[in-house]
Amino acid sequence: MNSKLQSLLENNPQIWRAKDADRYLKDAIPTGYAELDAILPGGGWPANVITEMVTPQWGVGELQLFLPLLRTITQQKRWILLIAPPYVPFAPALERAGIDMDYVVTVQAKHSQKDALWGIEKALQSLACALVFAWVDSFMHGAIRRLQLAAEAGRSLGVLFRQRNDEQSPAALRIRLHPSATGVHVQVLKARGSFQCRSVHINLQLY
């Protein structure tokens, strides 16, 4: 191959090569929903990357979708950080769903968005923290890429809940949730390692 082309491919962070995908797909964590596993490349939540959940409004089953993952992580006594959640995580309900609240820590970012971003990065970099949920909507240019690197360094999974659909986002997996009466409708907007963007309906026992 042309050496110029080679260096361009290797050094430009904007270019992602499909053959690198295996590395991300290998450690995918099963979601606990067979229908969802079927449409995600790797058969589960991709590990060590940033996943973006585009949710126009809260209260459509966005947490329920992660319930099996939350359960597994807290049972393994690894930590989960909720950064800038929109509401109070209601402990009786979460405990009833099998989550050990000893391992769930909430971080408020009252002062600024910048603090929240900084907090997400630090949490992702930490090896102690296995999963970071963040409710931050607007990101500065390049911020998500930075978080992506942090997630890789800290071997943790980052999930950003956003109300806005940002087509330019470099997150490895982007999912849009549509509310439904019997559960939630999951639409894969972008998945690293797959060109197909499929959608599936998942039945959830929301109440």
Binding site: G59, F90, Q108, L206
Partner: protein
């Protein structure tokens, strides 16, 4: 001794080990070994701007005149001596730098050094104004010999802090001090050799009154050897019992108990900048050194802290305080430094800083964290570097986002949703588990919903799906709740948990979301 069983009226014969034990008791108890550490130029060296390549003196008042107290090496070469009037010293060396005698500073510095010496032995005695005594017999095995200890003392004091030091080691504290003060660096292990080793010292080195020294010289006693030859009772009659007592203590003929230095209960250290500082990088540098001192102090006292305070002092303005709090007691230097960095990065200095001070109270006993001996192979690297501990991360976040930004939530048995969880407090006893469905999200304050045609309204009509579930509790505490809860869905598809107050107004509130 061995025959004593026959004499003593004991009801049984003693076991055969007893004579052996008695013979063991006769083994001589190891003599103490005192290391005297004399800093002859301390009065000069406490001044921060003193440099060794400069002729300098410290002066003191004597009978209304300024006389030289301590002379730097370079000034000594040019002929300046102690007790010389300052004018004479200036005449010999015009470029002389003169400092006043600062006894308080010298005393504090000596206390600091006593604390530092605590790394070699627990028995440290402060001999003001410029000497320390260290009992090192008990530390020989740990450090691997006397020469190692001496080397370390010299290395740290001379090379690192640039003090001039004399050390001498003998079995009695006074003899060590006498030798070190006269500039001898002898090592005498045995008390029997003291007399001959001290014999060659001049009488003028004895820490006794000038008058007595003169009297001794007049009797022809110039060296200590001459004193050894004089009869003790005669000596006591002519020169007073104090001298004889001192000589006996020096030779180890009578005991010489000394107070041990005890490090203070609180930590307080400060640094004064030579000029005003506005740059936080420079502040951080100095603060780091203070922290290093602090963590050394903590380690020596075997304690840890969960809070310490930096104070930055300005001119004509109230001091800026930085309180560093940790969630778990610590004495880790790197960790505290990271937290401080976080604080300093956020800090905007309103005025230049003159001096910085680090203080800490409430020291706690240190209990080391337990790490499994057989660490799982996957996690070993992380565990060794203590990276699997969430606390450092939380502290870092807390340092930047504020003390109340980090929260954990735990459930507690209460039917009223707003009282069914506790912040930062895990209540272990749970008397009942709610069987009804509860939402994952709860609004901290219920949100009042407007009504249209007696129906709740949230960006559109709200459809009730399930309910009501009546919650009526808390009348005993004055915070009573009387509500009918419904599960509902709004026109966008969000699943809501809403309630209607059971009072005259019958208002609707949004209280949670099923996420």
């Amino acid at each position: 001794m061995a025959k004593s069983p026959a004499v003593l009226p004991l009801p049984f014969t003693l076991p055969p080990e007893v004579p052996q034990a008695a013979s063991q008791a006769e083994v001589e108890i190891p003599q103490p070994l005192w290391l005297a550490l004399v800093l002859p130029k301390l009065a000069l060296e406490v001044h921060d701007d003193h440099r060794s390549d400069r002729a300098a003196v410290v002066v003191t008042e004597y009978k209304g005149r300024s006389v030289v107290h301590t002379v730097s090496h370079l000034a000594e070469i040019q002929g300046v001596n102690t007790n010389m009037p300052i004018n004479a010293a200036y005449a010999l060396c015009p470029s002389l730098k003169v400092y006043p005698l600062d006894e308080h500073k010298q005393c504090t510095r000596l206390q600091q050094l006593a604390h530092w010496a605590g790394q070699f032995t627990s028995k440290v005695n402060v001999q003001s104004p410029q000497a320390l005594l260290l009992e090192v017999r008990g530390s020989l095995k740990l450090f691997g010999g006397l020469s190692v200890i001496q080397d370390r003392i010299h290395q740290q004091l001379e090379q690192y802090w640039q003090y001039s030091v004399h050390t001498a080691v003998t079995p009695t504290p006074m003899a060590s001090l006498l030798l070190a003060n006269s500039g001898q660096s002898d090592v005498i292990q045995n008390r029997q050799q003291l007399r001959s080793a001290l014999g060659r010292l001049a009488v003028k080195h004895l820490p006794i009154e000038l008058k007595t020294k003169r009297q001794l010289r007049n009797t022809g006693a110039r060296l200590l050897r001459d004193l050894w030859r004089l009869p003790k009772d005669g000596l006591a009659r002519r020169f007073g019992p104090k001298l004889v007592n001192y000589l006996d203590r020096t030779l180890g003929l009578i005991p010489d108990p000394l107070d041990c230095y005890k490090s203070p209960e609180t930590f307080d250290a400060s640094y004064e900048f030579p000029m005003e500082v506005k740059n936080t990088d420079l502040l951080l540098n100095i603060a780091e050194q203070l922290l290093l001192q602090f963590t050394d102090f903590l380690r020596q006292r075997d304690v840890c802290i969960n809070q310490c305070q930096f104070a930055l002092f300005h001119d004509k303005q109230a001091a800026t305080n930085i309180i560093i709090g940790v969630r778990q007691p610590t004495r880790d230097h790197v960790h505290l430094k990271n937290l401080l960095e976080e604080h300093l990065n956020r800090l905007s200095l309103e005025a230049p800083v003159r001096s910085i001070r680090l203080s800490a109270k409430d020291l706690m006993l240190f209990s080391p964290q337990q790490v499994s001996l057989f660490i799982e192979p996957l996690l070993d690297q992380a565990l060794i570097h203590n990276e699997c501990d969430i606390e450092p991360l939380l502290e870092q976040l807390q340092a930047r986002m504020g003390r109340d930004a980090i929260m954990t939530f735990h459930s507690i048995a209460d039917h009223r949703p707003e009282y069914a969880y506790r912040i930062n407090q895990n209540v272990k006893e749970k008397s009942f588990v709610i069987t009804q469905q509860r939402p994952f999200w709860l609004l901290a304050e219920p949100q009042l919903l407007p009504q249209k045609n007696h129906q709740p309204w949230l960006h559109g009509p709200v459809t009730l799906l399930k309910g009501p579930e009546r919650i009526q509790a808390g009348w005993w505490s004055g915070d009573d709740v009387k509500r009918d809860y419904y599960i509902a869905v709004d026109n966008k598809g969000s699943h809501l948990w809403i309630y209607q107050e059971l009072d005259k107004l019958c208002r609707w509130y949004l209280h949670g979301l099923f996420a």
